[in-house]
Symmetry: C2
Subunit: 454 residues, 2 copies
């Protein structure tokens, strides 16, 4: 097939797509703060309508879900999953430009959500524009499932998916993200860890106490929290909750084979984060890759208690809390971890430690030898000029499992990210060159998938 017209369209109209992305970035949509979600959903819906999609915005108990569909030439249906919410921009002082403003500099674009996930969404729209402009019709039916709580564990997506299975029905799904590694090789991520995100909180009195008065006789919420946390994981990274590791499906020999084929991730991590070693002293290579994604975690994401300002304040805190993120590998389940955690805390005398569940989801995987995976991998080679690297499992999480369990379809990744995209961190960014390549890749996936045999 002659890709010249499509590729030319994508190149020549890049600024139009970037302008659309700028509109989305300028609309803060921080799900953790319930900020601007409705507004951002409407902006995204408008963009889909403009392309001839029929759009439905469905309220949920949380942020609205945007569903869109446009019929195509063949009987095939491709589902895109994206999200319009973003991570909080804090710490603001570490940004080099205003987080909610698309700023171009030296071939990069900066802004909160520019990669995760607003840029992915608009680059896909851009691919669709290119096909419609050059062909007049989509090669297959295209559906978009766009949610607004991905960054807070997609707490309400299940209620939507569960009641919209016929509407969502598709033959394959392209997940929210994707991109290249530090060597420019496109990456195919075929699995996501699950997650169970909780907040542990303790209250020991109705108000803080002067530490001179209280230190010897009043319970201290911060100490209670530290002792409770300490029972969860030891210094060798062993998670101490009974039964936590019971259901784990270890990586297969095929997983290891795929991991062995990938480059060593250690140098790039060391360089980017200024570290000199990894947990458990793992040197790198396939061992590090397997540890990175096939082990469950218990990560403290935040601690808060008492006085946190400058200098000293002699206070005994009445309240303390920790945010904790458990990443789950196949076949763990968040509900089970939550139950185990409660039992564990109670067994250790920490029934005073309350658990607030901030959401979770199961892990998911797609067979690396599925025909759709092969199609996406082959298209990538055309666009990037180098083979796509297949990663059997990744460390992140998403509502992948909800969709996979409900629709039973392969889920692939294809996108615009790169290793220094700074997702979830200050100065989140995307390279314009990769934005363009991402759109070209999506255009090819649509075309070949639409015309592929069953």
């Amino acid at each position: 097939m002659n890709w010249q017209p499509v590729d030319a369209y994508i190149k020549n109209n890049l600024n139009k797509s970037i302008s659309e992305l700028a509109v989305l970035v300028a609309q803060p949509s921080v799900s953790a703060k319930h900020e601007g979600l409705q507004e951002c959903a409407l902006l995204a819906a408008e963009m889909l309508k403009k392309r001839g999609f029929s759009v439905e915005i469905s309220p949920t108990s949380g942020a609205p879900v945007v569903f869109a569909e446009r019929k195509g030439r063949s009987e095939k249906t491709l589902l895109f999953y994206n999200h319009y919410d973003v991570q909080p921009a804090e710490p603001l002082e570490l940004w080099n430009s205003p987080p909610f403003e698309l700023v171009e500099k030296d071939g990069n674009m900066y802004g909160r959500g520019i990669s995760d996930d607003k840029g992915h969404f608009t680059s896909r729209l851009h691919a669709i524009d290119a096909i419609l402009a050059t062909d007049g019709e989509l090669p297959c039916t295209v559906k978009f499932l766009l949610e607004g709580e991905e960054e807070t564990s997609s707490v309400h997506l299940n209620e939507y998916v569960g009641s919209h299975v016929p509407q969502l029905k598709a033959d394959a799904c392209v997940w929210e993200f994707g991109g290249v590694d530090e060597f420019g090789y496109p990456l195919q991520y075929l699995g996501l860890r699950g997650i169970c995100y909780v907040e542990l909180s303790v209250e020991t009195a109705n108000q803080d106490v002067h530490s001179g008065t209280g230190g010897s006789i009043f319970a201290n919420a911060a100490w209670r929290l530290v002792w409770a946390l300490n029972t969860l994981k030891d210094e060798n990274e062993n998670i101490l909750i009974p039964g936590f590791y019971d259901d784990i499906l270890p990586p297969s020999s095929r997983d290891r084979e795929l991991m062995e084929a990938l480059p060593d991730p250690a140098p790039a991590y060391k360089n980017q984060y200024g570290i000199y070693k990894f947990l458990k002293d793992t040197a790198g290579g396939a061992d590090l890759r397997i540890q990175e994604v096939f082990e469950p975690t218990c990560t403290i994401c935040g601690l808060t208690s008492g006085y946190q300002g400058e200098g000293s304040k002699t206070v005994l805190p009445a309240r303390a809390s920790a945010k904790i993120d458990f990443r789950l590998v196949p076949n763990m389940r968040p509900e089970k971890v939550l139950k185990q955690l409660r039992e564990h805390l109670d067994a250790h005398g920490f029934s005073d430690v309350e658990i607030t569940y901030h959401g979770g989801g199961a892990p998911s995987r797609t067979d690396p030898d599925d025909p759709f995976v092969r199609l996406v991998v082959d298209c990538a080679a055309e666009v990037y000029g180098v083979p796509m690297r297949v990663i059997p499992m990744t460390g992140g999480s998403g509502p992948n499992a909800m969709v996979q369990d409900a629709l039973n379809i392969p889920i692939v990744t294809a996108g615009i990210g790169h290793p220094a995209s700074q997702a979830h961190a200050p100065n989140e960014n995307v390279k314009i060159d990769l934005y363009e390549k991402g759109a070209r890749h999506i255009a090819r996936i649509l075309q070949y998938f639409g015309s592929s045999a069953d």
Copy 2:
């Protein structure tokens, strides 16, 4: 002696004194934030000058020290120690009135520092006014030592005291605070615990990491901190730093006798703080009083790391820190604790945990049978109509030991506080009635002390 004219002056001019206090409260002077200290020192100095004191404001490496002196009739010299700095007002949302505004309501005055320690300072000035107005002369020489870093462990007072011993020379000292218990009995506090205030901090990377990527392979600053803290104290309140308890002088039988004579503090604490039991399940009485002040502490005053906003953020924190306050009993020394802490952390593999010393001071005690103590106790009975209760040691800290070590004089307390004064907490307050009684008590101390035999 006829106290009617002095007492009448104190009563009739109360509003004048309260106006002066309002001026001081309206000047934020938060030493933890280096806020308004110079300004507040100048205001206090001006108030002393107005009363005929010769005043000297001495810069230190931190906040300035205000020293004032006015000669009196006898050869005796009484030294008042006060401080013009206050605790931070946070958490602001728990105040019922603006913290830096004196608000009167139902016989109480509210505001940050209204008790600790601005109200104590102005009530003493008010007593001096009453004596000058009725007698024309002070019965003894009066000196004021007024510092601006008491709430941050008086880090620079030692450098001042050390180089001003002849100037500070006195026969006795009235310390910054004092007041009544929940039954209205005036209290005599004869000792202060020492303090060693530190911040522990850990940095594991040059930036936060996405918890999905990093959880299994990157060190987590929050976990490092939790594990390090956990080695400091166990759930039974045993401080685990080797040698920590070595130098402790246990309470004497005289200490226990004095504690036995005091009422049970348990009911008031339970009621005020909404708690139902104390550490180590101590029921109350002298046992609780002894535990409260004769045991050293290791109090977490604050914890901070990672995301602390609403909801969830999936981040692996690169930085974490804890503020910790060790209270020291006789004969512990802060420098020694600091050294032991460093050695302990290193021995447990936490050389990555940095210690920032925010200041400290040694514990101090005054003999309960000193003649000046008896004079102050007798004066109190006249003013309050009930006997003063003698407390051999208290839980708080102050630069008491610096003054006592340098001048070798008895140090007593006499003041305006009450158990719900909320020092260091929101809605700090003073009862106007006790403010007046405090001034009357100081007037008597001055008069009897000035005319006492050597």
